[in-house]
Every structure is written in C-alpha cells, then in structure tokens.
C-alpha cells in the first residue's frame, strides 16, 4: 500500500518537474498533458487508498526518512493516510486533475503554458504533503509550499503590476499567519516534546489548559491566514488576479481549506479547549456574513465567487469550532466540488468575454454558452444549499449543529448568510446568463469553451449534485478518527420546520435575485444611481474600507518607517556616531597640530610649560602631603 501512498504523493512532483523541464522553452502541449496524466495517476492511487481505508479501516503510516534531528527534536518525513487525510487527498487530487485538464484548454494561448503546469503540479504536491504529513513540521512544509505556489500562480502574469502586487500581498499575509503557526508548533514541541501528531495529541490532555489555549490560538492564527479569515482576508479577493484555474483549485477548493483541515486535524486539541472553539466558530460565522455581504454588490465576477468562498470557509470554521469536525470536513469536500465548478465556469465566461469580469457587461450568455450556463447554475444551486444538491447536506448540517449546540446567534447569522449566499450567487448567474445581451455594446463575440474543458468539468458537476449521497458512508469512515457526534434536532417537527424554512428562505432569495437582475433595466452602473451612492453600498464595495485601512495605515506606515529607519536612524544616528567618533580623533588632530608650529621658541615654551605644570602638581601634592593633618582638621571643621 505504501506504493500507492508514494505514487499519490510524488506523481504530482514528477509532473511538476517534467513541466519545469520545458520551463524556458516554447509552449508545448506535452507539458500540460503529462502532468495531468500523472495527476490522474495520483487520483487513482488516492482512490485505491480511499477504498482501502473505507473498506478495512486501516490507516497507512510511513516514515520516509529523517528530516531534522537536533537535541531532543526529531522530525521525520512521515506520511499518514487515515480517514481524514484520505478524504482530503481525494478532494485535492480530484479537483486538481479536473483543473489540470481544464487548464490545458484554458491556458492554451498563454506563453507561460509550461511554467503554469509546473507550478500547478507543484502546488498539488505541496498540498498533498500538507494533508498527508504525520507531524506539524511536515504540515508546515506543505503549508509554506502551497503558499509559495500560490505566490507563483497569483503572480503568474507577472507583467501585470496588480498581479505581482496581489501575489506579494498573499504571501506576506500568509506569512503573518505562519508566524502564529510556527509559534504554535514551538508550543507543541516544548510542551509535548514531539511534533508527531499522534504523540503530541496523546500528551495534550495532561497539559495545563492555559498552555493548550495558547497552542490552540496560535495554531488557529496560522489557519486564519491560509483560510483568509478576518482580519487576514483581503488577500483572497486580490488573489483573483491569477488565472482562473488557479482560483478554482487553490483559492476555492484546496489551499484555503487548509486552515479548516488544520483545525480538524488538531481536533484532539480543540476538543480540550471549547472556549477557543467557540471563538473560532464565532469568527467563522462572522466571516460568513461579512464576506457574503461584500459579495452582494461586487462587480467582479471572480471576486464575488472569492467572497463566497470566504463565506463558506466561515461556515466550515463555525462547524469545526463547535466541535463538529466531521461536518466541517464534509462541507469542505462538498464545497470544493461546487466551488471549483463555479470558478471553472467563470473561467469559461471570462474566456468567452475576453477577460471581462464585470457581470454587468455580460447578460444573456446562456444562449451562447449552454454548457457553462448549466454547470454554473447547478453549482450555484449547490452553493445555495438547495435539496438535493451537495450544498444542502453539508450546509444545512452546519446550521443544525449551531442550533443543536444552542448557539443561536451563530445559527441566526449563518441562516441569514445562507439567504445572502443564494442571493449573490443568483445575482451573478442572472447577470451573466440572463437578461439583455449587454456585451454587444462592447463589441465582444463570446463563444463556448472547448468541449474537452466542459467534459473535464463534468466530474465536478456530478459530484456537486450527488456528493450529499456519500454522507453516511463518509460519516462512518471519518468518525473512526473524529468525534462521532451526531447532530439531530430532537424534535422532528422542529427539524422539518427548520429545514423547510431554510429552503424556502433560500429559494426566496434566489427568486428575488432573479427578479432583480434579469430585468431589462439592468445597465452597466456608472456610479450615478442612488444605490451606488448610498453609504451601505459604498461600505460594501470598498470592502468595509479594510484594504484602504491596510494600505494607508499599515503598508504606508511600514514603508515610511523603513525610510526613516534607514535615512534617519541608520545613517544619521548609528553610522554618524561611528564616523563621529573617528572624526573626533581626526579633528582633534587637525585642531591641535598647530601646537607643532615648527618654531623652536614655541617648542621650548612647551617644554618649560610641561615642566611647570608637572611642578605645580608636585607642589600641590607635596603641600597636601605635608599639611595633610591640617587639611583634614580644616575640612572636618567645614563639616565635610
């Protein structure tokens, strides 16, 4: 079985290296096909592993080699395939295979085709390391590895200033969180003496709660960065500068869920500190609403989806925070499918619209892009959580969890968010695919994407529809590892009321969105309408002014402070002091060299002066010695 593990893990790496071989040469299809095929292999191996784990309940644990060993620290390259990681592996390999195949078409005309696949496969490799590692350090490798790949891919079109800026922003924000993660790891090491999950988690129950709390907090800070939770969320929307397949894979399906995975993985820890869990859940709920609200008005198709991702991540954290780890993981999985689908669909639209992102400039595309239309609609339905699509099973479950755990505020917020989700999703669908063909004003001639791209997307489509069906099997499997709490509303009546109520609420939101945005009056907003000038709209479109705040009060301050440090402190104080000391000597020399006037008479006077000076000192000393008694009495008389 280890063979499958290694195949699953290293096939993407091989693909990446293979593509990298062509990195500097001209675009060649093979650089896309081979990595995709290798990913397929990886997917296959993962499937085998999944079946194995599912069937036998066995987990596979290998230690490839030692990575670091110093003092008492011992970190191997160890990998584990257990119920949790195999789910993640499936998600990752599946989505990435789809995205790879899709990208062969999507990136068809790009100069950096080969490079792209190299990066993309490298990302998959890092992501697999992240999920398969059996210790925190390995997790961190993957953690940073996906960060790197994300940086490379966001900034893929590096000639665009905005792209490289967004890449750097993403990297640096993630780094801020990574510091927290690192500290969390240090805490784990110094308190449990190991970084292996198994031993570390085993040791945790005997630790002081305060320490565990800190551990939980710092590890979660790491998760916040990667999963773009408030206040480190701004990078995710900006990350949409990357090619759309990247957004689908990294910024929707996999990398951003790493934070959730971490919390799930560290469930023994978080189970011990429910207060931190509650915080996580609250933050999750807040982010869910917060992000959804920003998605309401945004006029960038990809950003809307990005905010939706953010919002869904909030859901996941809410679940994980409340201890429903398996629920969180389930939503993670389901979300990966439909959100990737949504993004890829958006990619098709972008292609068709020549990289136009404003849905107000589209409209009526359903006529030309049937396939895409269907897929995106289904994905949106799934996202909105309409029965019987994937979203219903996972998202409703989260609502139930909140309800069952008696966190009604969280519940209410999440419920509200569900409505908003439905609204903005269908706002998008409506604006893109229905209504007037507004794109004609811009002289664009949209066309459907390659067939094989649509075919490539189809597995996602299927999964987005049927994923809910796996719920029970999934539950049976993962609860071998995760707390097997079942969340049932006690009274059936309440359950039905809740479920149906939610469905109705959501559908209402969809209907409203359709009504509002399929109308013929929709025009490209030009900043004159009343709504656009309302405070709420401005707040939302400016993302609550948070990026503005960051730019003006943190980035700018940092830049200016750096400048001050360099020009004022380093040069004017520190270095000037050093030179000043040297100068003191030099200047003393220059000033006093006149003593050497070259005139013999002066020299003689110096000699005499020196002697006289010494003499006066001698006399003073001699007198003091001779009259020491008198001086003492005199001084004591003065009261000294």
């Amino acid at each position: 079985m280890e063979l499958f593990l290694y195949t699953a893990l290293f096939a993407p790496l091989a693909g990446s290296l293979f593509a990298a071989l062509f990195g500097a040469s001209k675009k060649t299809k093979i650089a896309g096909i081979v990595p995709s095929a290798l990913l397929g292999l990886s997917l296959l191996s993962s499937t085998v592993l999944l079946i194995l784990v599912f069937m036998t309940g066995r987990t596979i644990h290998v230690e490839m080699m030692t990575w670091m060993a110093a003092g008492d620290l011992y970190i191997p390259f160890g990998f584990v395939v257990d119920q949790v990681s195999v789910v993640m592996m499936m998600v990752v390999t599946l989505v990435s295979t789809v995205v790879h195949v899709y990208a062969i078409g999507y990136m068809d005309h790009d100069k950096g085709f080969n490079r792209f696949f190299s990066y993309l496969s490298a990302f998959v490799f890092s992501m697999l390391i992240l999920v398969m590692s059996d210790n925190f350090a390995g997790l961190f490798i993957g953690w940073e590895g996906v960060g790197l790949c994300s940086w490379l891919l966001i900034g893929f079109w590096y000639h665009k200033e905005s792209a490289s800026w967004a890449a750097n922003e993403a990297f640096i924000m993630n780094r801020i969180a990574d510091l927290g993660m690192l500290i969390g790891i240090f805490l784990v090491y110094w308190n449990t003496g190991t970084l292996q999950y198994k031993e570390a988690f085993a040791a945790m129950p005997s630790l002081d709660t305060a320490i565990l709390t800190w551990m939980g907090i710092f590890l979660f800070i790491g998760a916040m960065g990667k999963s773009a939770q408030f206040p480190l969320h701004t990078w995710l929307a900006d990350a949409m500068e990357g090619p759309t397949p990247v957004s689908a894979l990294i910024h929707a399906a996999t990398m951003v869920t790493a934070g959730v995975y971490l919390v799930v993985r560290a469930n023994p820890l978080y189970s011990l500190i429910p207060h931190v869990g509650l915080f996580i859940a609250s933050l999750g709920a807040f982010v869910a609403l917060f992000a959804a609200s920003m998605a309401l008005v945004n006029r960038d198709m990809k950003r809307v989806i990005a905010y939706s991702t953010l919002s869904q991540l909030g859901y996941m954290f809410a679940a994980a925070g409340l201890g429903a780890y398996w629920v969180a993981l389930f939503h993670l999985m389901a979300h990966a499918f439909f959100k990737a689908l949504l993004f890829l669909g958006a990619g098709n639209v972008m292609h068709a619209m020549h990289d136009e992102l404003d849905p107000f400039k589209m409209g009526g595309l359903s006529k030309v892009m049937k396939g895409t239309f269907v897929m995106m609609t289904i994905a949106s339905v799934a996202l909105a959580g309409i029965f019987p699509l994937a979203g219903f099973f996972s998202k409703d479950l989260i609502l139930e969890v909140a309800f069952v755990e008696h966190h009604f505020i969280i519940y209410t917020v999440l419920l509200l968010t569900a409505g908003l989700t439905a609204f903005y999703s269908f706002r998008l669908v409506a604006l893109i695919f229905h209504g007037e063909d507004r794109y004609k004003h811009f002289g664009i001639h949209p066309h459907e994407a390659y067939k094989f791209m649509l075919v490539a997307m189809s597995p996602l489509l299927v999964l987005a529809v049927i994923a809910g069906a796996f719920k029970m099997g999934y539950f049976g499997m993962v609860t071998e590892l995760l707390p097997a709490t079942e969340y049932h509303v006690h009274s059936a009546a309440t359950y039905w009321i809740m479920t149906i109520g939610t469905q109705l609420f959501v559908m209402g939101a969809i209907a409203y969105a359709y009504k509002k945005y399929t109308s013929k009056d929709i025009k490209v907003p030009d900043g004159t309408s009343k709504m656009e000038n309302s405070f709420g709209y401005k707040l939302l479109i400016n993302q609550y002014y948070i990026p503005y705040f960051y730019e003006n009060y943190i980035v700018k301050a940092y830049r200016e402070l750096s400048e001050v440090f360099w020009t004022k402190i380093d040069q004017k104080v520190v270095d000037a002091t050093v030179d000043g000391i040297a100068n003191i000597f030099y200047q003393t020399g220059e000033k006093t060299r006149v003593m050497q006037s070259g005139n013999l008479s002066t020299m003689l006077k110096w000699m005499v002066a020196g002697t006289v000076a010494l003499l006066s000192l001698a006399v003073a000393f001699g007198l003091a010695a001779r009259y020491s008694v008198e001086i003492k009495t005199f001084l004591s008389g003065l009261g000294v």
Partner: protein, 502 residues
C-alpha cells in the same frame, strides 16, 4: 686625609668596560686610518664599523655569559653596573647600529657619508649610549648621554641641507634645556640624599621613609622632563617630528630606536624604585603621560601628509606605549619593554629603510615633501615587491598578527593586565586601533590608488644597493618570522630582567 689608593685590578672588573671601549677604539681607529690616507671610499668605513660593532656584539655576548653565571657585575669603583638591563639594552643598541650602518652604502651619494668622521662619531655615540645604560651613577649617565647626544646632533647636521640643520639646531637646543633639567633634577636628589647613585638614592629615601615627598617630587619632575624629552613624551616631544623629518630617513629610523632604549633603561632605573615605593603621584603622572603620549601622538599622526612625519609620530606613540611598562613595573612588563623594542627595531628600521631606499634628491612637482603619501600612490602596480614589504612593515606596526610587533603588543598588554592596569590595557588596545588608521592610509595609497603620472617604479628603489636591500630583507624576515624566535627571545629577556631584580 688623602692616602694613596690601594686598588687591586681584579676588584676593578675592567671587563665591564670592554663593550664600551671597543667602539671608542674603533672610532679612534677610523680617525687614524683617515689620517694616514684620506679620501677613502665610505665602504671601507662602513665595513670597519660593522666589524667593530660585530666584535662589540661578541664582547657583549661574553658579558652576557658572565652575567648569567655570576649575576650583576659592578666594576671600576662601582661606577659601572652590568646587569641584565644594561646587557639587553646594549644588545639592542649595538644590534640596531649594525643594521643601520650598512644603510650608508646608498646608490646616491649623501653628504654625511663622505666623512670618515661620520663613522667615528657614530661609534662614539654608541659608546656614549653604552655608558649611559651600564651605570647607575647619574654623573656617568649624564656624561654618556651628552656624549651620545652631541655626536647625534652632528650626525643629523651632516646630512647637510637646510632641513637637517634646522633639525639639528632644534634638537640641540631642546637637548641643552633637557640637560639643564637633568642636572637640576640630579641636584635635587643629591641634596636630598647626598648621593648620585640611584641605588643609594633609593636606599636613603627608603630609610627616611620619603619624609620630604614634595622635594622628591621636584626632583622627579625635572628628571621626568629631561627623560620625557629623550623619550619624546608629550609635551616634550615637539622635537621628534621635526628632527625625524630633517634627518635622513635611515638616521631617523635609528633615532627612533637606539637613543630611546638607552633612555628607557635609565628611566626604568630611576622611576621604578619610586613607583614601587608607592609614590602615588608619580604613578598618576606616568599613567597620564603614557595615555596622553600614546593617544595624542596617534591623533597627530592621523593628520600627517608625509610618511616620515607620520612614522615620527607613530614612534612617539610607540614610545608612549612602551613607557607603560615602566609604570606597570613588573618583571613581565619590563621584559615586555625589551621584547617590544627588539621587535620594534626590526620593523621600524625596516620601514624607515624603505623610505631611505626611495629617497630622491629632487622632488617632482606633485610631491610636497620627501616622502609624502602620494609619492607611494599605486606602488603595487609599479613596484609590487617593495609595496608588499612596506605594507608588511605597516601591518606589523599596526600590531597585526603574526608580524613582529603584534607579539610585543600582546605581551605588553598582557603585562598591563597582569599588573592590574585593566583600563590602561584597554586604552593601549584602542590606541592600536587608532594607529591602524594611519598605517592603513599608506597601504591604501600603495594598493588602492592609481599611480601618479611619471611615477615609475624606479622611484621606489632609486637608492637601492645590495646592502640596503639586505638590511630590508633582514628586517622583513625578522618582521614576518618573528614568531619563530619569540619564545627564545622572551625566555632570554625575562631571565635577564628577572635576574637584575626588575
């Protein structure tokens, strides 16, 4: 009552006079040779002097042998005192002189070497220094000192150009004042103790428990002033740069070593017993003057534009550095003094010889003085070997290991550390850092600047002959491979110093 003196020859210990008599006889011999046949080539006199000094050196080795067997020897009515200090310093005097004298055989001709008298006076001067160090009688010290000084003034003046006369006159006049100080100081001690012999002065002062400290200090002040002059302690140093600049580079190098070691020995004899007797004032004053001399000389050296003047200030600084040994006054420090000075002789003679070898008779327009810094600009391009050697001497002077002077500095600072003078040790160390700047300045000029036009490499060896090159070679080898000999040297010096009771 005057009775005929009944003195056995053995008790006179005439052997103590041998090392001094040899150069005197040699000097007379040179004069006689000149009388018989004048207008002889200088090489004759150089070699004669060298031979005489060689014989002197051997005689010294003999004396050293006797000393190590029997200990301190007093001779000729206890006027002569051959102890370890005397022997060590004479070794340095004679050895440095042997290194100096071949420098007369320059490629270009210079005035002083056309005189046989130059060599005679040179030998007389050596004898003077030898007398000065080999006695503890203030009278003989004075007479020896003056013999040597008067000869030295003349040697400087014989270079025969304006600057050298100016130098000689300055040196002479200040020397005369210093002589006055010396005699006054001696007078005070004589008045206090009725003796002019240092050990008796010490004994008497000890006996009456320094009752009249003020008066003692007056004497100390005058002696300090006079030796401050010889050792060029600030502010009695003012002659040094001018005299070094005015005299020929070779003689300047010589002056930076030989007269000073003689003066050091006398200073050691005079001041150490005072410091050991707890004359706090002297300790404070010496401390101050050591620090001031080191630091100020360094500071002035920083701003010099002429290498020779820079080296002059640098040797003032080195003297100040070594003066610390007298302040510290332990066996280790006194050994360090000699140790330092031996190593310093090689390096400093070497660097002055490098200047000597590049001496021009007519200065080109861009050059303000004989050895201005920019003369050496870009030397590595035109005369790489010479530049490397010169750099080596500079690094040694700066105290960079493993070159000669590093060991001296290290041992000296160590003696300060062991002597309990921590702050002094730090000041000494930091002064080396300041000094680094001006030594480095020359290296910068030589290695990092572009050569000035018309500055062909021949300038740097314009004066070279085999004998000059040999001397530089010896100095260079001594500088580089000092670490080979350091152990023996240290053992030898320590034994001698220790056995003399210092």
């Amino acid at each position: 009552m005057v009775s005929p003196a009944n003195i056995s020859m053995e008790s006179l210990n005439l052997i103590t006079l041998v090392p001094m008599l040899i150069p005197i006889i040699g000097a007379l011999l040179i004069i006689i040779v000149d009388l018989f046949k004048s207008e002889q080539d200088r090489s004759l006199y150089v070699m004669l002097s060298l031979l005489i000094l060689g014989v002197d050196f051997v005689a010294l080795m003999d004396t050293a042998g006797v000393f190590s067997k029997n200990g301190t020897i007093m001779g000729v009515f206890d006027v002569m005192l051959i102890d370890g200090l005397a022997i060590l310093s004479q070794f340095i005097v004679v050895g440095a002189s042997m290194l100096f004298i071949p420098l007369a055989l320059t490629h270009k001709r210079f005035h002083e070497f056309t005189y046989p008298e130059f060599f005679a006076l040179f030998l007389f001067m050596i004898a003077g220094f030898q007398f000065m160090v080999a006695t503890d009688n203030l009278i003989l010290i004075f007479v020896g000192l003056e013999t040597a000084s008067l000869a030295l003034y003349t040697l400087i003046a014989m270079h025969n150009r304006d600057k050298s006369f100016e130098a000689a006159v300055k040196y002479f006049t200040m020397g005369a004042l210093a002589a006055g100080f010396f005699s006054f100081g001696s007078m005070v001690f004589y008045a206090l103790t009725g003796s002019v012999e240092i050990n008796q002065i010490a004994a008497v002062l000890e006996a009456n428990n320094y009752a009249d400290i003020g008066f003692v200090l007056v004497g100390v002040v005058f002696l300090l002033a006079s030796f401050g002059f010889k050792l060029s302690m600030v502010p009695f140093h003012t002659w040094t740069p001018d005299v070094y600049e005015g005299s020929s580079a070779a003689l300047a190098g010589y002056m930076s070593i030989v007269p000073k070691i003689a003066a050091f020995v006398v200073a050691m004899r005079i001041f150490e017993f005072l410091i050991h007797s707890g004359v706090v004032w002297l300790e404070v004053i010496l401390y101050a003057s050591v620090v001031i001399t080191m630091t100020m000389a360094n500071v002035w050296a920083l701003v010099q534009t002429d290498v020779k003047r820079m080296l002059a200030y640098s040797s003032i600084s080195h003297a100040g550095f070594v003066m610390a040994a007298i302040l510290i006054g332990t066996t280790q420090s006194n050994s360090a003094l000699f140790f330092y000075w031996v190593l310093f002789s090689f390096t400093n003679l070497g660097s002055f010889s490098m200047l000597w070898i590049s001496r021009q008779k007519n200065l080109p327009a861009h050059q303000q003085s004989d050895h201005s810094y920019n003369k050496f600009a870009g030397m590595i391009k035109t005369a790489p070997v010479a530049a490397t050697i010169m750099a080596l001497f500079m690094l040694s002077l700066a105290g960079l290991p493993p070159f000669a002077l590093f060991w001296g500095k290290m041992y000296m600072i160590s003696s300060a550390v062991t002597g309990g003078y921590t702050v002094l040790a730090l000041i000494m160390a930091l002064n080396s850092a300041i000094a680094g700047y001006y030594y480095l300045k020359l290296i910068v000029y030589m290695f990092m600047k572009e050569p000035i036009v018309e500055n062909g490499g021949h300038v740097y060896s314009a004066n070279a002959t085999l004998s000059l090159k040999t001397i530089i070679g010896i100095a260079a080898i001594g500088t580089i491979f000092a670490f080979v000999a350091v152990n023996q040297l240290l053992e030898f010096i320590t034994a001698f110093v220790y056995n003399s009771g210092y």
